[in-house]
């Protein structure tokens, strides 16, 4: 665990995670995005994925709770007719993961330096070119932040992050 992910108990987070089950119909994403923009709710990320039932999709939305009270965001979302259910996850009760791909410009010396750095993070080199290297890291968003910051010391050609997905943390006993 890196320093940035170790947060003290009871610390307040700026973000909150909503898992939203929506009907898999044309325009649903536009309805959700439109709602956020017209009500002035900010989001940090939004990930869409199919579910095992093809009638529905799942959105994982990371909401900026400083832009609007969480309850208001949930109630407004719930009014969208295509929104079937919403579950909310406080960051300290969630396991959050995200994926990052980064292409970095390298020469012979930097190549091994970066491979080593990515190795420390338990990331992977997924593509190698004559003067570029594409690395991948899946992990907590904070871990990704750390690697992104360190890679910033090199020349990043391109970098993409998937936005986070999350599930509730399991209790210690049973469950």
């Amino acid at each position: 665990m890196t320093a940035a992910t170790a947060r003290s108990e009871g610390e307040s987070f700026r973000h909150h995670i909503l898992t939203v089950l929506v009907e898999n119909k044309a325009g649903v994403l536009a309805r959700v995005a439109g709602l956020f923009s017209r009500r002035g709710f900010n989001i940090f990320s939004l990930a869409v994925a199919p579910t095992d039932d093809e009638r529905f999709s799942r959105l994982t939305i990371v909401v900026d709770v400083e832009s609007a009270p969480l309850e208001q965001v949930i109630q407004q979302l719930d009014k969208l007719v295509n929104v079937v259910s919403i579950s909310q996850l406080a960051p300290d009760a969630a396991v959050e993961r995200e994926l990052m791909l980064a292409t970095v410009a390298v020469d012979a010396r930097l190549r091994s330096e970066i491979i080593e750095l990515v190795g420390v993070f338990r990331g992977e080199v997924v593509n190698v070119g004559p003067d570029r290297l594409t690395v991948m890291l899946a992990g907590s968003p904070d871990t990704l932040d750390d690697l992104e910051r360190l890679l910033g010391g090199y020349t990043i050609v391109e970098l993409q992050r998937s936005g986070r997905v999350a599930l509730p943390k399991l209790g210690r006993s049973g469950g």
Binding site: E23, G27, R31, G34, L35, R55, Q72, K79, V81, V84
Partner: protein, 598 residues
């Protein structure tokens, strides 16, 4: 039975019980207009699709049934955008049907193509683009269900031309489960624990106010409201959207709060220790500056829309549910607490009302509160300078209209000063007799909404009280009214100005009048009215006011327009300046010196 999509659409509307719809045809909706010829539904041909939308709104507001409007694709559809936005703000149930280019042409910038579901996403409760003819009955049934249940609102169904022309096998979705709305479950029953907590607060309140909004009308809750008010002895304020939900003549009625509300209604909320918000949404026109609004009040918020709870003000008790249902449960809980009202006291002595209501249960007597309210009412009644030196005062026109018309007359207003005078000086005694554009403030609403209201309630007198500016926006619908023999009456309070804007420029922009002058006689409203098949009457002096109204009231075979030339310099009072605190309410200059014993 094989039908075309178009036939299925009209049959679906018939099956829904639609009796009338308002619209105007064009290319993409042509297939749907053909079966209208064979339908039991009356179609009213408007002169502009905005008129169709507002007519549908007026119809819905007086009947409680959803209004239906129809337009073609592209410009026809965009012309209905303003009514959709208006209906969305005022929670009016509308079903708007638009034609769309053929599915194969969608996305190609085809002639008269417009992504109307995209455009109206944020101003409809929901909308549908129908892709297959077999989806039509289910979509229509779902549209009516969504428009009329929960918090009502407008919906739109966009029907491509090839879908209208395609064949389908007729069916009708019999149950809610057939509607394919897995995410739509409005809550109507309030949580009993919350209701019990609310009643507990109500029994202990010393300075309570029932803050009644449009939800009390939408839920058909007027009778329950009277009972709740009389049982508790609480004073009642009715917002702009709730005028008529509680009789203005009732001793417990304080009238309208808000930016142009009366002093007592505004100040009662400011000083209250309990606000019972019944289907009201703490609109900025009511609260003024939110952090200075009703600072000492606990709040019970009853609303069918969970998103209204705590949107503006965090309540002590939140009750999500249908306003009427919740009021009835509150009455049950009050019964259980032994609070019975004293009929005689309510009827006879205004001051004694509250006392009688509460003493029965040995709860706080509210003589002090009622004494204060009565003192404010005495010191700061609604007031205007009646002495007019021959000019016609707009408030006097409204009062004369009120006095010369039956109590259940439907009054429809435009937006501006005349709207505020209508809401202030009319005496509303019955629910569904007031039709106006509250949340959106849509100029041009009155004439078409009055047409729709008269179609919905042909048995009632319908007077539109309109501004000269507003009238010019949608007056052509009087052609529709003449052609369809819909005898509405229109009183133009012609002050030759965009008066409300002029008032703001006078008060807040150092009398720098920018683009607000209209001229009293360009256009000539009488000639214009006559050209549209109406009777036109001009009134230029106070003596002519009553005779002109009598004359208009005697005409029942065509629309009448009365051009009242009113005082251009009159301002609406009281007024809470925009963004200001309700404590800084500005009363009429004649009352400025008055002091109320606190």
């Amino acid at each position: 039975m094989r039908l075309t999509g178009a036939q299925a659409l009209i049959k679906s509307l018939e099956t829904q019980g639609v009796e009338v719809m308002f619209g105007l045809p064009g290319g993409a909706i042509l297939p749907v207009y053909d079966p209208i010829l064979d339908s039991s539904i009356r179609h009213i041909l408007v002169r502009h699709e905005q008129g169709a939308g507002h007519m549908a709104e007026g119809y819905a507001m007086v009947t409680g049934r959803p209004g239906v409007a129809m337009a073609t694709s592209g410009p026809g559809a965009t012309n209905v955008v303003t009514p959709l936005s208006n209906a969305y703000m005022d929670s009016t149930p509308l079903v708007v049907i638009t034609g769309q280019v053929s599915t194969s042409a969608i996305g190609s910038d085809a002639f008269q193509e417009c992504d109307i579901t995209g455009v109206t996403m944020g101003i409809t409760k929901h909308n549908w683009l129908v892709k297959r003819a077999e989806d039509i009955p289910r979509t229509v049934a779902a549209a009516f269900h969504v428009a009329t249940t929960g918090r009502p609102g407008p919906v739109l169904i966009d029907v491509p031309k090839d879908v209208s022309n395609a064949q389908m096998e007729w069916y009708w979705p019999e149950t809610e489960a057939d509607l394919d709305l897995p995410g739509y479950h409005p809550r109507t029953e309030g949580d009993p624990a919350a209701i019990a907590a609310a009643v507990e607060l109500m029994l202990r309140a010393e300075r309570p106010v029932l803050y009644v909004g449009g939800g009390a009308l939408k839920s058909r809750g007027a009778a329950a409201l009277i009972e709740l008010a009389e049982r508790t002895g609480f004073p009642v304020v009715t917002t702009l959207m709730a005028r008529g939900a509680f009789p203005d003549s009732h001793p417990l009625c304080l009238g309208m709060p808000g930016m142009h509300g009366n002093y007592t209604a505004v100040t009662a909320m400011q000083r209250a220790d309990l606000l019972v918000a019944l289907g009201s949404r703490f609109d900025d026109r009511v609260t003024g500056r939110v952090d200075a609004f009703a600072p000492g009040a606990k709040v019970i918020h009853v609303d069918i829309d969970p998103a209204e709870i705590a949107k503006v003000r965090v309540p002590e008790v939140a009750i999500v549910g249908d306003c009427r249902v919740v009021m009835e449960r509150m009455l049950d809980a009050l019964d259980a607490a032994g609070l019975v009202h004293d009929e005689a006291a309510v009827r006879t002595d205004r001051g004694a009302t509250a006392v009688a209501g509460s003493r029965a249960a040995g709860r706080p007597a509210r003589e002090g509160w009622w004494g204060q309210l009565r003192a404010w009412q005495r010191e700061y009644p609604l007031h205007y300078e009646a002495e007019s030196e021959g000019t016609v005062k707009p408030q006097m026109v409204v009062e004369t209209l009120r006095d010369l018309n039956p109590e259940d007359t439907i009054v429809v207003a435009g937006v501006g000063q005349h709207q505020m005078w209508a809401s202030q000086y009319w005496r509303f005694e019955h629910p569904y007799t007031w039709v106006n554009s509250g949340g959106a403030g849509t100029m041009g609403f009155a004439v078409p909404a009055a047409v729709g209201a008269k179609v919905g309630r042909p048995d009632k007198t319908v007077w539109a009280i309109d501004g000269d500016g507003c009238f010019q926006m949608t007056a052509q619908e009087l052609v529709t009214a003449s052609a369809e023999r819909i005898p509405i009456k229109v009183a133009i309070l012609n002050n030759a100005y965009l008066g409300m804007v002029r008032q703001w420029q006078e008060m807040f922009y150092a009398e720098r009048y920018s683009e607000v002058y209209l001229s009293p006689d360009l256009p000539d409203y009488v000639k214009w009215a006559e050209a549209m098949g109406c009777v036109g009457i001009r009134v230029e002096s106070p003596e002519e006011v009553a005779p002109a109204i009598e004359k208009a009231n005697a005409i029942d075979d065509r629309p009448v327009v009365v051009d009242f030339r009113t005082d251009a310099f009159e301002k609406v009072f009281p007024m809470v300046p925009a963004g200001g605190s309700n404590d800084d309410i500005v009363v009429h200059p004649n009352q400025a010196g008055a002091r109320v014993a606190q």
